[in-house]
Structures are given as C-alpha cells and as structure tokens.
C-alpha cells in the first residue's frame, strides 16, 4: 500500500489553475523526486501537501496511510507525520532554535499519544539529532534561523526533520542557493534519515541534488502536470536535453 497517494489533484490560486491533475503514489521507504522549471507548480504541490493557506483544491484527493490529508490543519498533518523542509526557512527572532524545537517535538509527541520530554531529556535528544545531521552547536542556541547563512538555514530544516521523525518528508528546493560543500552536508543529513518507514518527496529545479540524494523515481512536472516519470536515469536525460523537448512533446 502506498504511504502517500495523490489522485487527480487540481489546485487554483486566486482563480488561476496551477496544478491540473496530479497523480502520484509513494510507497513506504521510497524517495521520489519532482523536477521542473520555474512556474511548473512544484512549490504549490509542496505547500498544498503541508496545508498552507491560499490554495483552493478544486478536485482530487491526497491521502497519507489511507487518511485524507486535505481536511487537516497543518499542525495535525505534522502530527500524522508530514514534514515540509521550506525553500525559504522562516526567521523567528526572539525564540531560540532549540526551545522552538522542544515546543514542536512535544506538541507532536502529545498528538501522537507519547509522553512529552522534559527539558533535560529533550536536550539529550536534541544533541543526538544535531549530531546526526552535523548541526553546529551554536545554531541551537541562536534565534530560529535569525541571521543564519543559506546553508545553515537548510541544515536547520534537516535538523528539525530529524527531531520530528516524519513519515513523509517533503524537501522543497532544499538545494537552491547552496554551494557544493553545503549541498553535500545537507544531502548527507537527508541520507542519514532515509529509512524503510519514511518516504520522501524531493522537489528540485536542478539535477545536481539528485547526484547526492539518489531517488527511486523521478517525475517531471510541467505546467501543472506530471509529463514523464522514470528511474534515476531520467535526471541525466533531462540534464542533456533540458525541458524544451518535453514541453514540445506535451
């Protein structure tokens, strides 16, 4: 059974059709990549899955483990195991990164019927997760993403992902704006979190990321539709030929 199942998804923003019938199924443990040029609807898909405001779903369904996602508030989706790594992580001056994460982890644990972690237990847990994704210690103490470099922000997203242990992780252009060293570090963090119980949807503009996070399937999104799917070799094909050919074909 698929963990994530999207069927016939149509989405509009202010009356304009952005997604025009997406079908996608991701089995447990699989990593799927969605590639596409600017304006193809990649970010809209990630936002709709995470429950951001401002999108009208006009047709179709999205289920996670058989449960309707679209009726849930963002926090309830998080509790069910949805995690979105933001393309542009949000700065929150005034709240330290580690305390922010404690509030999140305990909210999710409460919703999942687990005991909350006290301050001491949480710090131990957070240090261990930071180790997994090699997050520098001083970033835990500073305000959430505030004054972080681009690479630090993306690494912090993966740190949060490690701590929240999602069933489905959506990585929205996690590679954009990163130099090759930062890309490698972030990808290592993501790969460390691959597991048979966790699915991932990696959204990217660039083939380069998929050299580091090697997907099981690749889908090409063009003008709100998936126009081609294939295995990892599709990325190389796209790199060689670009989107123009597919566009002409579509």
């Amino acid at each position: 059974m698929s963990m994530l199942k999207i069927e016939g998804l149509h989405v509009e923003v202010e009356g304009k059709a952005i997604l025009k019938g997406i079908d996608l199924a991701i089995a447990p443990g699989e990593v799927h990549a969605i590639m596409g040029p600017n304006g193809s609807g990649k970010s809209t898909l990630s936002h709709v899955l995470a429950g951001r405001e401002g999108y009208d779903v006009t047709a179709g369904t999205v289920t996670l483990d058989g449960e309707d996602l679209l009726e849930l508030d963002p926090e309830d989706r998080a509790a069910k195991g949805v995690f979105l790594a933001f393309q542009y992580p949000v700065e929150i001056p005034g709240v330290s990164n580690v305390y922010f994460l404690k509030a999140a982890v305990n909210a999710v644990r409460r919703a999942r019927g687990q005991d909350e972690l006290d301050a001491v237990a949480f710090m131990k847990y957070a240090r261990q997760k930071a180790e997994t994704v090699k997050l520098p210690k001083d970033l835990m103490k500073r305000s959430v993403n505030s004054g972080f470099s681009g690479g630090e922000k993306k690494r912090n997203e993966i740190f949060q992902m490690a701590a929240l242990e999602p069933r489905l992780a959506i990585l929205d252009e996690t590679d954009s704006g990163l130099d090759i060293d930062a890309l490698r570090t972030v990808s290592e963090g993501v790969n460390a979190l691959r597991s048979p119980e966790r699915s991932m949807l990696v959204i990217t503009h660039y083939q380069r990321l998929l050299d580091y996070i090697v997907p099981d399937r690749i889908h090409v999104l063009l003008d709100g539709r998936i126009v081609k799917s294939g295995d990892k070799s599709l990325a190389k094909e796209l790199e060689a030929e670009g989107y123009a050919e597919l566009r002409a074909g579509a």
Partner: protein, 434 residues
C-alpha cells in the same frame, strides 16, 4: 508661573542645600525654567498624546528615608551574575567591590568630597527642560559610574531602581552618570521595579547621562516593570565620541504612565548606535517613548527599532526624530516601529521622522500596526505547534526579539522572565519553550 507649577514646586520643597556653587546654579536655572515655562501640556508636539495634568496636580512629597529595598530585591531576583547596586527611592546603597576596571560611587559622596569632578559632566547629555529640570532641581543622590580607559568589565553592572509607594504620594529623583573611558567596554543593566507598599501614586523622575569615550562600547539594557500607580518620567541622554558604540535595549512593561525620552548625539565620526526597544501595554496603561538621534559628526550609523504589543485599552506613543546635520556626511539613519494589536480598544500613536540637512545620507523610516506574521505562523504550525500556542509563542517572540544577542545570557533571561510574567498564557509559553 502657573499655579500648577508653583503648587508642585512648593510642595516639593527647597532644593537640597550645601552643594557646590555650580550645582546651586544648575538647580536655580532648572527652577527658573520650570517657573517660566511650566509643565508641558498637550499643545507641545512631544506631549500631544501624553497628559501630565494628573501628575502635576498630585501632591507628591519627597520620601522620608524608606527602608532599604536591597533584601527585597535579592529575594525577588535570581543571581544574574552581575554586580548589583540597589537604589531605593533615589538613595543608593553600595555593597561590596565593583568589578575590576570600574569605579562606582554615590553622587552624594562625590558632591561632598570632590564636587569639581562632576561640574562639567552633570547636565552634559540631558538638557534641563521640563521634567529633567525637576530632577536637576531636586535630586540628592545617584550613581557615578566611571569605566577606566581600556577596561573590559568581566561582569555587567546591574543598577536596580526600586520605587516604594506609601500611603501618601511620593516622588523619587534618581540620577545616573556613566563615563566610559577611551577604548573601554561594559554592559549595564538598569531595572525599574516597584516594591509593594501603600496604594498612593509614585513618581520616579529619573535622569541618566551616558558619555561614551572614543572607541568605547556600552551595552545598556533598560527594563521597566510598571504598576498601575507608578508614574515614570525618565530621561536618558547619550553622547558618543569618535568610533564609540552604544547598544541600547529598552524593555518597557506597562505602568500607569511610563515615559522615556532618549536623546543620543554623535559628537565624533564613525560611531554607531543600535537603539532597540519593546513595550507592552494592557488594561489602561500608557507607555510613551520619545527618541531623538542627532547626527552631528560624519560617518555615524544609527538604527532605531522599536516594537510594541498593545492589549486591553492600553495606549502607546512612539515618536522618533532622526536629525542629520549639515556636516554629518556619510551618515546612516534608520528608524522603524512595528506594533502588534491584540485588542480593538488599544491604541498607538507612532511617528518616526527624519530631518535631514545633508546630501550624503542613507536613511529610512517607517511604522506599522498589524497582526502576526502569517509565514511565521505557518512555519510553527507545520512543525506541529497548535495554532493557539503558535500565536502565543509569536507574540512573545515579537517582544523578546529585542534581547537577541545580549550577553551574558542570564541578563537576557532576567528580562525574558519579566516579559513572560506579563503576557497572556505566559506560563504555557514558558513551559513550551523552557
């Protein structure tokens, strides 16, 4: 002289006697100014939104020597690692030795022992007008802080001002003078607290002057925890020499009337000022900030960022003027005031403005009154934090952001604790984040 002014001055009694002649002169000029000008009314732009009619009509008396608040303070505040000085209704107690590199003395002692040491400094950064004149006419004691050239203080100095209301209205006139020697660095925390006592109104009319020498840096955290019967009419004057740095964080948590006039002047080139502040009003509280930044020398940078949280029927006033004089080429002057409205009945009057008399300037000013940031809200919710709790956390963050980067952490923590104690659901926020 208006009846009001005459009434207040006569009730407050004669100025303290026995000082040096120059001080008698200063006090006399202040009284003359008050007698001629009176206390400000709403016809003056800077007082348009803040009425002091009640204050002027209240029969404030000088306090009899109140019992020391030192024990009360030590019981109430955890050790924050700073060297602590307690001032009770304007009377300073010094206890133990200050950190190496700083001399801390009672102004009353200095006036008695070597008054010449203060002659050119008192009144150098705060003009003797309005309520600053009242302080000049009547202050008896205060604190003189001299940081030695090149000294870097290992511990912050924490000056705790305690207002002690009684059965009849009382007033206190604290005075502070800080002189940072060339190349010195220090952190100063000032807290304004009220020790519960009688129910009468209490006026704290504080004047602080800060003179920062060349290439010296002072971090100044100023925290006021207001009460309904507390009136604070305070002045903070800052003068910066060449390449000096002043990092100011003002946290004003309510009060029946809490007003701060902060005036900063760049006297030498290449200096930098960060003026951050946060205020919170609830019920019928009134908090007023008046900032003036004067770029007199070239290549100086000022950044004013104040944030307000408005609840209940609270009223906040924010007014900032950035003046760039003709010779201040290469100045950078920015002013921003953001407000978050939590209640339909709360109000804010905000007016950041610039007066620029020089071509070579980078400047901006703006103010907003709005709601929580939708992106931040979605970010928290996408991490599993329920909406109501996410709103609480962001409301807290909006105010506490003013403390970002303050070291040592214990100082910032002390202010955060005070913020949480006032906010709706503060306990829940503390539990979620602590």
């Amino acid at each position: 002289m208006s009846e009001q002014t005459e009434g207040l001055l006569s009730r407050l009694g004669d100025p303290p006697a026995g000082g040096p002649a120059w001080l008698d002169g200063l006090r006399e000029r202040a009284r003359t100014h008050l007698a001629e000008e009176g206390f400000p009314g709403k016809r003056r732009e800077r007082w348009r939104f803040t009425s002091v009619k009640d204050v002027v009509e209240t029969p404030f008396a000088r306090p009899d020597a109140p019992s020391s608040a030192r024990a009360w303070v030590d019981e109430r505040l955890a050790d924050d690692g700073a060297w602590r000085v307690v001032e009770t209704d304007g009377r300073v107690e010094l206890d133990g030795a200050p950190p190496e590199g700083v001399s801390v003395r009672r102004i009353a002692d200095v006036l008695a022992e070597e008054p010449a040491a203060l002659e050119s400094a008192l009144g150098a950064a705060v003009a003797g007008e309005e309520f600053a004149a009242l302080n000049a006419a009547l202050f008896e004691d205060g604190l003189l802080v001299d940081v030695a050239p090149g000294a870097q203080l290992a511990r912050p100095v924490h000056l705790v001002h305690v207002a002690c209301p009684a059965e009849a209205p009382r007033a206190a006139y604290p005075r502070l003078l800080v002189r940072m020697g060339t190349g010195s660095e220090a952190t100063l925390l000032e807290s304004f607290l009220t020790r519960p006592g009688g129910d009468a109104r209490h006026l704290t009319n504080a004047v602080a002057e800060v003179l920062v020498g060349a290439n010296a840096g002072l971090t100044h955290v100023r925290l006021t925890e207001g009460t309904d019967d507390a009136v604070q009419l305070a002045y903070l004057g800052v003068r910066l020499q060449r390449d000096a740095r002043f990092d100011s964080r003002v946290v004003a948590l309510g009060g029946g009337l809490c007003r701060l006039e902060l005036t900063l002047t760049f006297d030498g080139p290449g200096a930098e000022a960060r003026l951050d502040g946060a205020y919170h009003v609830d019920n019928s509280e009134h908090v007023d900030h008046q900032l003036t930044v004067i770029h007199r020398a070239p290549r100086c940078t000022s950044r004013v960022r104040y944030r307000g949280l408005l609840d209940g029927q609270g009223h906040a006033v924010f007014n900032a003027i950035g003046v760039v004089e003709r010779d201040a080429a290469g100045s950078s002057a920015h002013q921003e005031n953001k407000n978050l409205l939590l209640s339909d009945e709360a109000t804010v009057d905000t007016k950041p403005q610039l007066e620029i008399d020089c071509d070579d300037v980078t400047a901006s000013h703006g103010s907003t009154v709005g709601a929580l940031d939708a992106q931040q809200l979605f970010y928290l919710r996408s991490r599993g934090v329920p909406e109501a709790r996410a709103r609480d956390i962001l409301t807290y963050a909006f105010v506490s952001a003013v403390l970002d980067g303050i070291q040592p952490e214990a100082i910032a923590q002390r202010a955060r604790t005070a913020i949480l104690a006032r906010l709706p659901h503060g306990d829940a926020i503390r539990e979620a984040l602590g």
